[in-house]
């Protein structure tokens, strides 16, 4: 762990903490419909959209109406994406003449992008046309992110309002989140990426002549070997920069190319790498400030941000440490860090990023529910690979997805306040609102659905050889980690993978599709129910017995509750996967 690496990590978090307040304050103004400097351009666009769609922006919605609007919007856009994939061969902007996407893969991909997961069971450059990538997938990067932000804002209104039955208007929050927040920031990032060499075109793929012809031997299904001489290489092109910007900013994570952020056309320099990581944490960090301002307690927002930062630091420290360690089975190789090499485990990592920026990216992308990668998580050391998995298992609340991280964290805040209330034998209160049985029931529903779908589907996949094990590349504990990671990543709407598992099978396409759906909508609904219930409550005056949610004690309690719930739920599965693999690695076994 070189000082150089720590300086990169320190620079990253310092920039996030510096940017959180201006962006958070801006988002408060946007969602409270106060004046912003973009109004002269965007207000006419907004009015036009409402006129076309017949939306009354002043209409307020109860939580059920809000949830219904969110579901209708998601269903409509999901079906649209399914159809685009199925008929892409007849549509324009398909210079490679790619065929229709198979039904099970189209089902999986449509759910994946509309749930902000961006799990990709396919190789984009050989499966999706430019039109599908732009109209079917990149649009979801905006929409699903805007839905997440809208729902988080509705939850914050639920806390802030008193004796009201409504949470705002879903269509207004969706529109303003897209026009005022996601679109302008994406344009800035896309231009920065282009300046660094990220491609942005609609050209057919280039063909380059390789300097040295390669002899490739393949074995067919009949067992016969065929040797081919490869003299050319296809270099995929496309509108990458525009998709790269929103893919990270919206914590979507779906790469334009299969190699995702490790591809030199997606993430060419250490500077773009820093920009990508910043854009992943930017909105989730800003929303903590928005929370504090909208509920009238800025210090509460900072306390939540402190808990997120603490959990982030533990993750990045562990991952950086684990990946900096020499592989114990490679006795005769110099694996120490020096001025001429990164040292440690460089398998699956890009030399231009090194260990620190790779460990940081892996932590950031899984803390937030992004899932973009600049390395192959499957190639990490067992404990290094456990960090991304644990980050997602905590519920994608360490900064978390745009919006989803905020409302996920607020569920844990309610749970923490409830536990604090139980400890001292008082009715728990959160910012003056009494937390009652309905709120806790809904919070528990939110918390229980997550492990239920993950562990349930993982168990079925592991116990059914023809379903779950037939497309597995590695066996033993690493194989279990690959399957577990797939379901964890889907339920957490993350989308990154331990790539040794071929998930483009009927079983995985459908079961992971269900997992993504449950991990998104079935968790949003109880959360909105709590918001609706909280909005109707009176504010109780603060007394000496009220548990303050602005202090370091609260931050520590919140962090502890998150870690304990995560550990109690997933430690048995982790002990059979990465922890066992770590122990066996040191005993001389690999998988």
């Amino acid at each position: 762990m070189l000082l150089n690496g720590w300086l990169q990590i320190a620079l990253f978090i310092a920039l996030i903490l510096l940017l959180a307040k201006p962006l958070g304050s801006y988002m408060t103004r946007v969602f409270e419909r106060r004046r912003t400097w973009l109004d002269p351009v965007l207000v006419p666009c907004e009015r036009l959209l409402y006129r076309i769609t017949g939306v009354d922006p002043d209409e307020e919605m109860r939580w059920t109406q809000y949830a219904l609007a969110m579901l209708i919007f998601s269903a409509a856009t999901l079906v649209l994406t399914y159809i685009i994939q199925r008929v892409q061969q007849f549509l324009p902007l398909n210079p490679q003449h790619l065929a229709a996407v198979a039904p099970d893969l189209a089902f999986n991909t449509a759910i994946s992008f509309s749930t902000n997961t961006n799990w990709q069971a396919y190789t984009p450059e050989t499966t999706m046309s430019y039109l599908t990538q732009m109209l079917g997938l990149a649009t979801h990067n905006f929409w699903s992110a805007a839905v997440g932000i809208a729902v988080a804002i509705a939850f914050i209104r639920g806390i802030a309002r008193r004796e009201m039955k409504t949470l705002g208007n879903f269509w207004v929050d969706l529109t303003r989140g897209t026009l005022w927040v996601l679109l302008p920031i994406s344009i800035v990032f896309a231009l920065a990426f282009v300046s660094q060499g990220v491609v942005q075109n609609l050209k057919p793929y280039d063909t380059a002549k390789v300097l040295e012809p390669q002899h490739v031997t393949t074995t067919g299904t009949d067992g016969k070997s065929t040797t081919t001489v490869v003299t050319t290489q296809t270099i995929a092109q496309g509108p990458v920069a525009s998709q790269e910007a929103i893919k990270n900013l919206g914590t979507n994570g779906g790469g334009f190319f299969n190699a995702n952020g490790a591809h030199p056309f997606e993430n060419p320099t250490p500077f773009t790498n820093l920009l990508e990581m910043l854009s992943i944490f930017l909105i989730p960090a800003g929303l903590t400030v928005t929370l504090g301002q909208m509920v009238g307690s800025p210090r509460h927002g900072w306390a939540v941000l402190a808990a997120m930062t603490l959990l982030w630091f533990v993750g990045v420290f562990t991952c950086f440490w684990a990946e900096s360690q020499p592989n114990p089975l490679m006795h005769n190789v110099d694996q120490h860090a020096s001025l001429t090499q990164s040292g440690g485990n460089m398998e699956g990592k890009e030399v231009r990023f090194g260990i620190a920026s790779t460990a940081l990216f892996a932590t950031v992308t899984t803390d937030a529910s992004c899932g973009a990668v600049n390395s192959m998580h499957d190639s990490f050391m067992p404990l290094g690979g456990m960090v991304p998995m644990v980050n997602i298992m905590l519920g994608e609340i360490v900064f978390g997805g745009v919006g989803s991280g905020m409302y996920g964290m607020l569920i844990f805040v309610i749970l923490s306040v409830f536990i604090a209330g139980l400890m001292v034998g008082r009715t728990p209160e959160y910012l003056g609102k009494k937390i009652e049985s309905f709120d806790v029931k809904m919070a528990m529903l939110y918390i229980l659905i997550f492990p239920l779908v993950i562990l349930g589907f993982t168990a079925v996949a592991v116990l059914m050889p023809n379903l779950g094990l037939s497309s597995l590349a590695n066996h033993g504990p690493h194989g279990l980690s690959e399957i577990l990671y797939a379901y964890v990543s889907s339920a957490g709407n993350n989308g990154s993978a331990f790539a040794g598992l071929n998930a483009n099978t009927h079983w995985y396409n459908y079961s992971l599709g269900f997992t993504m759906f449950f991990g998104r909508f079935m968790m949003m609904i109880p959360m909105l129910a709590i918001a609706g219930n909280l909005a109707g409550k009176k504010i109780a005056p603060q007394t000496v017995g009220t548990f303050p949610v602005t202090t370091p004690l609260f931050t520590i309690l919140l962090t502890s509750v998150i870690v304990i719930v995560g550990a109690l739920t997933f430690f048995p599965a982790l002990s059979l996967g990465p922890i066992l693999e770590h122990l066996l690695l040191h005993a001389g076994h690999t998988f």
């Binding site: 939580w63 059920t64 949830a67 219904l68 579901l71 269903a75 999901l78 079906v79 399914y82 199925r86 198979a102 039904p103 099970d104 189209a106 089902f107 449509a110 759910i111 049985s437 309905f438 029931k441 809904m442 529903l445 459908y510 599709g513 269900f514 759906f517 909508f521 079935m522 609904i525 109880p526 129910a529 609706g532 219930n533």
Partner: protein, 32 residues
């Protein structure tokens, strides 16, 4: 047929989500 299966599955999932919304709302109502 596979298209029908995929779209039918989506319809079932979203219907389940709507029932879930209604169930949560009723649970809240029954307390009061």
């Amino acid at each position: 047929m596979p298209d029908f299966l995929a779209l039918f599955t989506l319809a079932v999932l979203f219907t389940a989500a709507l029932v879930y919304v209604s169930g949560c709302d009723r649970l809240k109502g029954s307390r009061r």
